[in-house]
């Protein structure tokens, strides 16, 4: 029931958005008739690129949401430490599971359960910036080389940040 209402709301919002932009476009066409075709062809090119990649990315995210419940993440990340724990933190962070504000409570809970600070910082960093489906979008729209460079440098940075923070911060003194 509530899903139906929700669906209706979403579709109304989409129609509204289309209406608003059609109006803006009509105004542009009136003011700059010469450039109008150019704008339309550029928009269509990007629309096409989005249509070929977004459904697949959304399906992957939907599947991950169903198969990788946050409980599983907690269970695995909480118990492993050392180098294996670091790899696990990276792996679990790249899984397409939800926005950042979900990750903070998980991180806090794990720290209370004595997970190592560096692993948690790695997990948070990877979760925020190196999600697998987003990488597909990045390669499609910016390019493979950019994406590979960003992935490597970001991963290295996250690990360095985690090690620096573990050196500086004494978890025992924190009130979590």
């Amino acid at each position: 029931m509530s899903e139906k209402v929700n669906l209706k709301k979403l579709i109304i919002k989409i129609i509204k958005t289309l209406f608003i932009w059609s109006f803006i476009l009509a105004v542009f066409r009136y003011i700059f008739p010469a450039r109008f075709d150019n704008a339309v062809s550029m928009s269509l090119r990007y629309a096409k690129e989005m249509i070929i990649i977004f459904p697949a990315v959304l399906v992957i995210m939907g599947l991950a949401d169903i198969w990788v419940p946050t409980n599983l993440v907690k269970q695995y990340l909480g118990s492993k430490s050392g180098l294996r724990g670091k790899f696990l933190a990276i792996f679990l962070g790249t899984l397409p599971t939800g926005p950042m504000y979900i990750a903070f409570p998980i991180a806090a809970e794990l720290l209370r359960k004595k997970a190592s600070l560096s692993n948690i910082i790695i997990f948070l960093g990877v979760w925020a910036s190196l999600k697998i489906p987003q990488l597909g979008i990045e390669i499609q729209f910016i390019g493979l080389k950019f994406s590979v460079l960003r992935f490597i440098f970001t991963l290295m940075s996250i690990i360095i940040i985690a090690l620096i923070m573990e050196k500086i911060i004494d978890v025992e003194e924190l009130e979590l």
Binding site: S43, M61, S157
Partner: protein, 158 residues
């Protein structure tokens, strides 16, 4: 190319998932549909904005502000913008790509993308509440510094 790969990947994952549990798989499709519909208004806006960027903002203007040789002001502004804004990367990445197509340099675009994902000014209150002041401040300050280093390195290697 990447689109073909991702679509194949999604298809294989879905078939495997369906084989193990068709109910769960259907649920995941419904989730995907709703997420897509929720994202659609912003994607539609983005498509129109990109058209307007290309057709109505002269390329010289984009080159002047976001292109050309490395400039501290340019990269700093891009990093500040990325740190403050909270745009889902599913939207920000196509936008970033369109700016590069329009003549922007890689360094400021990288600064924008890295700070957008690594630094979250908007989520600082939530982070402080959950993890405390100390972790939050160190994490975000270090993230800003490293995001700038990353964008410079990307600029050098691209």
């Amino acid at each position: 190319m990447i689109a073909v790969f991702i679509n194949l990947f999604a298809l294989i994952l879905f078939i495997v998932s369906f084989y193990f549990n068709n109910k769960k798989s259907k649920k995941s499709l419904r989730k995907a549909l709703f997420k897509g519909l929720g994202l659609a208004p912003q994607l539609i806006s983005l498509i129109f904005i990109i058209g307007i960027i290309f057709a109505f903002i002269p390329p010289e203007l984009i080159k002047e502000y976001l292109g050309g040789d490395f400039s501290i002001v340019q990269v700093g502004a891009a990093a500040l913008f990325g740190s403050i804004m909270m745009i889902p990367s599913l939207l920000a990445l196509p936008l970033a790509g369109s700016l590069i197509d329009a003549g922007a340099s890689y360094t400021p675009v990288a600064a924008f993308v890295t700070t957008l994902t690594m630094v979250g000014f908007v989520t600082i209150p939530v982070e402080m509440k959950e993890l405390g002041k100390k972790i939050t401040i160190y994490r975000n300050v270090l993230a800003v510094i490293f995001a700038l280093i990353i964008s410079l390195l990307i600029g050098v290697f691209m």
